[in-house]
């Protein structure tokens, strides 16, 4: 039985095609763009193509993410908090805390022993501590965001970025460049800044290990290192961290077929 999960995030759209609530047959990640519907359709087609399945084979569809309310092919919409919980627990059943750093927000989610979401916190004041923060800094530094993890691995120290505000931190980064600080140390400092911000958010909950990092930013290993260093915790990263929300949605869609 085929089910589909669609995660319509602020930055990217993700799809996962699941068989029998167990096997991922196909997945896709695309930049959101201005026409969400077209990109969503492309993303669904790509995941179905990988799965060797047709749209009519899909029994249930669940949408999640900020664009979930406008997804007219979904049978149900579920919040990304619940979907990330479900997806992360499926990949790593030992997970008890999830840190999800997305394009425009960060979330920390607590799971019970049976994988149920029991509490969560979200940033809600500004872009600090989100993927958007890193995007702005990549532009300021003239470095591809995808290279941040590798470059920061060469750092011999994490420079303190004292400004939390994205706009002020950007000015600070430009000043650091003018002082000829090595770019790898600046990037490591930016990772530390995000890690500090997210861990401060997480401290509102009881952080229980193992901690799992999901979302697009999890592909950046520099963030993992910074979270581990600043938080003195071990961080696990599941397979395909960016599609964990869509996977959770596909799992919920499977649960719908059993009702």
């Amino acid at each position: 039985m085929i089910t589909l999960g669609i995660d319509l995030g602020s930055n990217t759209i993700k799809t996962v095609v699941l068989e029998d609530g167990r096997d991922v047959l196909g997945s896709c990640v695309r930049k959101s763009g201005y026409d969400t519907k077209i990109i969503t359709d492309e993303c669904v087609r790509e995941a179905l193509s990988q799965a060797g399945a047709k749209f009519d084979d899909i029994k249930k569809i669940v949408a999640t993410g900020y664009g979930r309310v406008s997804c007219d092919i979904a049978h149900k919409e579920i919040s990304e908090i619940t979907c990330h919980g479900k997806g992360a627990y499926f990949r790593m059943p030992e997970a008890r805390t999830i840190i999800d750093i997305g394009g425009q927000d960060s979330k920390v989610i607590s799971l019970s022993d049976n994988g149920k979401v029991i509490d969560f916190v979200m940033n809600d004041k500004c872009a600090a501590g989100t993927g958007r923060f890193l995007e702005v800094m990549a532009t300021a530094l003239g470095v591809a965001l995808d290279d941040f993890g590798e470059i920061s691995g060469k750092a011999d120290k994490m420079i303190d970025i004292s400004n939390t505000c994205t706009v002020f931190a950007e000015s600070e980064v430009i000043s650091l460049l003018a002082r000829r600080e090595p770019v790898e140390n600046i990037i490591a400092g930016l990772h530390k800044s995000i890690a500090s911000r997210v861990l401060a958010l997480a401290s509102r909950l009881r952080i229980q290990e193992p901690v799992v990092l999901t979302g697009g930013v999890a592909k950046n290993l520099g963030i993992k290192r910074a979270l581990e260093t600043v938080g003195k915790i071990n961080i696990g990263i599941p397979v395909s961290p960016q599609t964990i929300g869509a996977l959770g949605a596909a799992l919920h869609a499977y649960a719908l077929t059993l009702k």
């Binding site: 900020y66 309310v69 579920i78 919040s79 509490d119 969560f120 916190v121 979200m122 809600d124 004041k125």
Partner: protein, 372 residues
Amino acid sequence: MNAKNFPEIVADICANPYEQLKRYKAAGKNIAGYTCSYVPEELLDAFGYIPYRLLGRAQNIRQADRYLQTYCCSQIRSLLEDFINDEYIGIDAVIFAHTCDSMQSFHDIFKRNNPDIFVKNVNFPTSINNDIAFRYALAELKNFAAALEEHTGKTLDRDALVESISVYNLNRGLLDKLYALHRSYPKEIPGVTLHHTVVASMISDKRDINGILESYLGTFDENEPEDDKRKRLMLIGSINISEDIYLLADEFGAMIADDDLCTGRRYFAQQVTEPTIEGVARRYFSRPHCAAKHRGLYSREHYLTGLAGKCGIDGAIFLYLKFCDPHSFDYPDLRKGLEAKGIPSQLIEIEQSLAPSGQIRTKLQAFLEILE
């Protein structure tokens, strides 16, 4: 006015607060704007004013940011924007009460820049748990009455005060009954009608609201309570001028069963039991207080857990204005206190001048998914 149309009538008043002010002015009434529920409305009413709660409705704050730091909450910045935009033109008096630092400073700025309006600050004490504080509060209310006498040239008429207190007590009793009936008939009396009715009461002559509210409530006396299994939420916070949280709760199959809001139960809780200024002061010392006042380390926690138990609350939403210091300081302990009683909670911070963001929707939906 037809009682059956009551929900639409209060929704309309709530959506058009400036029009309500203009209607009263056109009818030749004197309007006293006030910023806080610690302003004694009964005294204003006894002097012939219609007390009109200033909630701040400006949706785009532009000019106020020239005068106030952005760390002032959006209520105060919206209020100033409203005044700059002449939304309250014709208002006869503006009365403040001491609560938070931002409101106190707003009073100072407002008074200095509006010499032609009667502006008064009721310096209500922060501690409301001892006899010295009570005597101080009573003296402040008497000073306020004396200032009104001097400004209006009238003497406080004891019979007028008795009549005002009676009208306000009736309104409080009716609002309390509305909340109780909402829990029995949540579909017929949706949560948003509670919000509309309280806010409409705050900006209307109570005599205009009481009659039709009483008739509306009377239509439920014979009905069987609805069988409603929705999750019951309680809102906790300062003021809320938006109906969105009520509509979102309905959309997600839950209900706002009760609240501890300045624009909710705190406004009408407790009657004045003695028709005098002392009685008015005494009510403030016995009603549930806000985060800007102090009655004891655990007074709010005990009150909230008690209210939650009485109303069968499944979860609490802390609905805070961003940068509201008094409520934010109370939050960690209140959250722990509710958790200890098995009541989960979620914090949602809002800017009252902005439309609800996707985050509010996500937070409420995710919280309700946890409660399922």
